[in-house]
Amino acid sequence: MWKKAMNKITIALLLLCMVSANTPKVFADTNIKTAEGFLLEMGEKQVTVEEYDGSVRTFPFNSYYILRIDTLNAEPSDFKPGMEVYLELKNNKVTYLEGYSTVAPGHIPEGSKIRFGTIKKIDRDQLIVKLDNGQEETYFTNSGTILLKDGLKVPLSSLYEGDKVKLYFDEIDTKMISRMAVQGKSVEVKGLYKGKLALADVIKKELTLTDLKIFRNGGWENVGSSKTISYDERSPIHIGGQRISPEKLKYYKDNTVYLAVKDYFSTDRVESMVLKNQSESVYTDRIEDINWYGNSMELEVSHKNLTFNEGTIIIKNGRLSDISALDPGMDVFVVGDDSAGSMAANIVYVYNEGINNSNIGQFYIYEGRLDAVFRNSRNSLMLKDFAYLNNNSWEAFSTSKELFYDEDTVIYDLDERRIISSEEFYYGDYAVDEDSNYARENNLEDRYVYAYTDGDRVVAIMVQKNRDSLLKLRVTSGVALEAPENHKWTGWRIHIANAADWSSRKDQWMARKDSFYLTLEDAIIIKNGQIITSDQLKQNDRLYIIRDDLKAKVIIVK
């Protein structure tokens, strides 16, 4: 009887062991329970919780247990009464206790996600940015996106492709830019040099060059027999499309080098460098076509095919740009490197300049006769026999055009050489009925204007008695070679270099081979949407100019 009973027990135990060996988790899981509710008290050895059904229970801690708040490891002292908690229990002892505290998961302080990069492409509210870590991202702007340049808020239309930017985001996974700062003048290429490499100091990070020339007026101009320029270790150095380290420069002594140099706190610093591989050829031409698959372009007049590569220095709008900034139809200065029948472009300098920096901007320049000025509800002016600058050429209309002004519109009376108020503009004799007795008795005529507008809103307007001949007006782009001077005979004037004139017949920017002085006495000068005085122009300012011979009429500082 006893033996039978023992056998039965043994068989039962064996079966139990077999079952447990096959399904150990089933037995283990049955011991794990969970509880959740509000924490009442956090003790050293136990925790008291009011469960959601209202029952109050105290659970002791297991010998090993995990404490977390919002998935992060926590200490017992971090838990506070009232917080919601979740518990996992083994044998009714706490093995895992998690509290919940975060109200806004994933929240970051406003603007605390930051990215640095270079704008590769602008398409209205969409920016393609090459980040400093090499990745390329597409970001978006909206009407609330703030843009700062040199500490001042400027419109998004100020942005250029090639600008270096600091982007601020309010959320960790958003592509919408809340704020952005753009590097000011320091982003622009101060000089494009060619020289012979005499010495490369890899510790001081300095290059000494001899036979130094600077790109000026469509060619290389001597600037000195020797110059030492610092470089940044992040500045790329290429030869034949291959990137090389600065340590290798010692093998290229006496080799011709091309340098794009920027201003670094009043000193020159190399931003990009290409070593000449074989022999140099230069072209001032227009890009006929670009083969994006073959990384090559064809020039229109010379019919030359040039390849471009990682090392090609591309300068557009005064900024170092990406190959993608090039387009067919651009007027360029190209330095080619001829080798065994194929030619690589070492430098592509783009002459094209426009009123707008990108397709974000909707700025226009109008010229016309001031027919009427309205105030109060309309605050507008009517132009008749007007023209506007369309792709650098005047397009004339015999109809009327209404433009709107406001208290922020800057109105400049060229004849009186002063800024006038909107009230003076309205009440003054700027637009008159020429057939009226009053006009005849006082010998009054409508004035003529140049208006710089943002859409139909006048940003700045210059009013003058005499009309300029549109045929004589020339559109020119160029760079201020020096700061302006107040000359005793001509008044304020500025020295312009690297200039190109727009040819309406050829529909092309024609590079000039000379520099020239431009007088500023009869001009309105616009910078960042504001009128500035002649003396506020700076050396190396890039200028979009409407001029009558050597007299500037409208200057936009780019």
Binding site: Y64, I69, T71, T102, P105, G106, I172, I203, S266, K538
Partner: protein
Amino acid sequence: MKKLAWTMIFILLFHSMAWAAPIEFSGGVSDEFQYKEVVFLSGKPVVFVGTVNVKIDEKQEEKKATYTFTLSPEDIDIEGKLTRNVTLITTYTPVTGKGQTIANTKVTRYTENVTIGQDTFKLTNSDIQFFQSDIIDNRPAIDFYSGNIQALKRYEINGGEGIAQVKITGGDVGYKNFWGSTQTQLLDYVYTINRKAQGENENSSWEGTVSVKVSDSTTKSLQYSQNEANFSSFNGGYIQVVKEGMISQYTYNLPRITDEGIDPFGRNQGTISLQASKVPKVERLIVPKFRDTAGHWAQQDIEKLYSLGVFEGNTSFFIPDGSMTRIDFVKAVVKACDIGGNEEADSSSKRSSRKKKGEVEEIIFVDIDSSHPDYQYVKKAFEKNIITRGTDYRFNPNEPLTKAEAVTILIRVLGLEGKAPAPGYKTSFSDDSKIPNWAKDAVYMAAEAGIIGGDNNNNNVNAHKQLKRSEASALLVRFLEFLEKDLQKDYSENIIYYY
């Protein structure tokens, strides 16, 4: 004996480095020979050059900085002279248990005499009010700090002809670590000059503003130098290069002053930039001679770390594709960042003296007792919260290190884990769900800092992956580059260019 030799190399390499800080709060820059700043008291920007004698006496609880300037206009056509004597005392007050220090600075001496043309400007000790307070966040390998400055300088013009008052408001931001330090000051000056009419010039009083951004940086970096001789016992080696440079930018908005006096309608606005750098200091490092790293993708990284004494050993084999152990990585990090500084070397000698007396070190982990050769590194890392211990008190020193563990250690060293978003977020990695909860903040911050990125194929971070010694070396070198270069750029150029 071997240990002593290694310790000596360690001390030799990690010599002390002067912390970078702009000179006083005038926006000037200097190299070894010349100091340069812009002075605006005359209403026009005038660049002054000359010498400054700097004396810094820094103790744990107080720093005394004394500056003596003797300057004259850079333009020899301008007559002028500037002498200035300044003593600033900074008192450090550690905040117990917070790992932070409050630094308050006051002026104990400030005298200045400036002559520009016919005008003299005199400032005595009683003519200045100055308050500066900084908060320093002391993280394991780095001190981050930020502060505010409020000051007022009052000059007597030509012995009673008028008063020139300069209000200064702004602050500073900076960091200090073993690999470098940068301090950038952002200051706004408001000039108010009230003076009696001089002859026909009735409007000789004026107001103007100047914004100054000035940054001083000291950085260490490694540079490879090839051995040009063919039959040498080594191919080349690394040089440690210490560089110090200052950049400054003044943006001014002043009255336009003509021969007729002050033009009531126009302003003179512009920017002046200054730059100065010292001759780099060079120091050769030991030459690595591993036989199994040649041609390996991580050869440079391994050799850099070996040259620095971060990796040690006399064998000819590094075993780059072997597993990095937890203990080796912690030790490398503590050494690479000089955590504890000279305490490390000191503690080594203290340990031996304690042993003589039979004293027992505190047990931190049950599997690393105080006699373990690397105990001091683990202890230091534990004391600085770089590593923590679980309820089992085990460190598992010889277990392979995972990427999540390595990244967590590095981010704790920087003290950046607290800057991660509020919990409950996803990182940008495709395998975000596989990142352990305890490592998520570190992985997020390491990605933000550019220390890690997703793999090329799938943007996975592979947090559970066990790191090879080569991979851990590459990660460590990237981390050191962050300390050397990225921080410097972030605190200097990226502020000055974009502020």
